[in-house]
Symmetry: C2
DNA sequence: CTGAAAGCGCTTACAG
DNA sequence: CTGAAAGCGCTTACAG
């Protein structure tokens, strides 16, 4: 049978209270006793039960992470960052891939509550504002990667607007004037902000961005490819496309290839996220990098900060800068106008 | 304060034992009472504490998943499959990215024990056989994706040998005779088996595979690129390369491009895993697909099967077939010999 | 069909 | 510096 605190106490000839204290470095215990007790724990292969200690009102040292899909490289990298920071601080993370489905979200939330996790990070859409409001009343929550509409919660996000701007700046500097955008659904705040920043910069420079050149896409390569193909038809086609994530950019690349349009010679493509995909395509993608490591770490920190405090302190936002990583998918605009 | 089983019992005018029974569908409770109690639980927003119930000797309904890196697309897909199957059956999964480092492995294992997870899936290397032996004595374990040396544990793996064979068959059919292999370290059983199957098939057909054309690589694109570049020097260079995973194949593709060697015209590349990367490169990769979904699901099933049984039942292995997915990175061998 | 009581393995005041 | 006792929120025989 597994050793318990009673076994350790008996061996050491002390009370379980004393053992508990040495485990948690609390109270004053003579150095000698503490050594002895550690030795006994070692010998008995004693592993204190987090379950039992959690029941006594302490933390479970477990966090929940809601994301659309852990198999998506972007979320995989974010999850890794969350995991690492959590691990450093003594927390484990339970992954919850929601596919952005309300049903799965509710199920996972219920499970996480029953397991009494110490807090939840939400990187997925949340259709139901009531659910979120209720959740926020029950435990610390932080939005990660995107804002959650309707309910004010802490959030850590990339500076999507500035990221969009820097994509625009890059293309403008290369002389592009006819541009297009492949965006995600407008329900996603991060995607809206990227587009907003991009468009704003173009407006400042007096470069038009016709509505028909802004196409929202589902989060799938084939879909992006189809949308891009449509954009690339006709003679007044754009010389540059800004894609709101790497997957969309892959679709754009494939569409261009099928249409016999050379990237970057005849078409520049700027992407967003800078996941591993960006370095794997041919040509490799110029991409606005999100600081995924820092996003993950900040989310954990923001979550843990809330432990001390009572219910719902002032809302906090952490915005992290993006950085344009230039690769081979962008070049000077063709001057055959 | 959070509602407890006592609150529900009080409201319903019954004992906590009765409430417990309706929660767990145990014993005989009149239909009327059961409805009433459910209604009260609903009204009180009662969420039974998994913590408390776990302490009573039941399961924690939490599983541990050890993998090298959740940010690696292959493991991300496996993790997703594990998560889904676990979720279906009422289990959560804690991710543990080990980077194959013994220190991290030990830390995570210790945490998982303290949290009393119901079982552990190991998809990472395990240098220390003693650790594993000890672990296996303490709780259900299954190896996932590769064998664990030295200690017999249940395992679910792809049929790597057959996968290697089918890669070879494909290339032979296309007329290739001068082949090379980019493999992972030989410590990894799956990589060994892939190479073994590949080589065996070649031998059967009397096609040589010179030792200098078999190069072990680290799990990084740049490293693979460098190794491939060396292989592609000289005039007797291979007309086909078999890469033991998608990342290595990306490296090979990049090396070929830099050397001005056309894929698939002058060089065919076959990959293994068939992660999202395989469909993103240019040309997209012909790849031996691992059935990641089924691997993940089988691992969970194999783990849960052990719950009923006493310590260490007979060792079981589940081997799942691979499938060659042909894309555009392979073609007929050039006949300019 | 229902309930009283013991017990799971800890932590936390409180007393000494 | 150390220990006795209550309590965390459940489940499980056992008795009725």
């Amino acid at each position: 049978m597994k050793a318990t605190i009673y076994d350790v106490a008996r061996e050491a000839g002390v009370s379980i209270a004393t053992v508990s204290k040495v485990i948690n470095s609390k109270g004053k215990i003579s150095e000698e006793r503490r050594r002895e007790i550690f030795a006994i724990m070692e010998r008995l292969q004693y592993q204190p039960s987090v379950i039992a200690s959690a029941l006594t009102g302490k933390h479970t040292y477990t966090l929940g992470l809601l994301i659309p899909d852990i198999a998506n490289p972007f979320f995989g990298e974010v999850a890794r960052a969350v995991e690492d920071r959590g691990h450093q601080l003594g927390y484990s993370v339970i992954i919850c891939s929601t596919d952005n489905k309300d049903e799965r979200i509710e199920q996972y939330l219920s499970v996480l509550k029953q397991k009494r996790v110490d807090g939840i990070m939400i990187g997925t859409g949340m259709g139901n504002a009531d659910t979120l409001r209720e959740l926020r009343g029950a435990m610390p929550v932080v939005a990660i990667g995107r804002e959650l509409p309707a309910v004010p919660v802490h959030a850590v996000v990339a500076d999507d607007r500035q990221g969009g701007r820097s994509a625009a700046e890059h293309l403008l500097l290369l002389g592009h004037r006819r541009m297009a955008v492949l965006s995600e659904g407008m329900a996603v705040s991060s995607s809206r902000d990227r587009l907003h920043g991009f468009r704003q910069k173009l407006e400042e420079e007096g470069v038009p961005l016709p509505e028909r050149h802004v196409r929202p896409c589902k989060h799938r390569i084939e879909h992006a490819k189809r949308e891009a193909a449509v954009m690339l038809e006709g003679s007044d086609r754009p010389t540059a496309i800004f894609c709101c994530n790497d997957l969309l950019a892959v679709g754009a690349l494939q569409a261009a290839k099928e249409a016999g349009i050379k990237v970057p010679g005849e078409l520049s493509v700027v992407s967003f996220d800078n996941t591993v995909l960006a370095s794997v395509t041919d040509p490799p993608l110029t991409s606005v990098a999100q600081p995924m490591e820092r996003i993950g770490a900040a989310a954990v920190d923001l979550l843990l900060e809330q432990f001390g405090q009572g219910a719902a302190p002032a809302r906090r936002r952490v915005t992290l800068r993006t950085e344009l990583v230039v690769r081979a998918s962008t070049a000077l605009a063709p001057h055959n106008e």
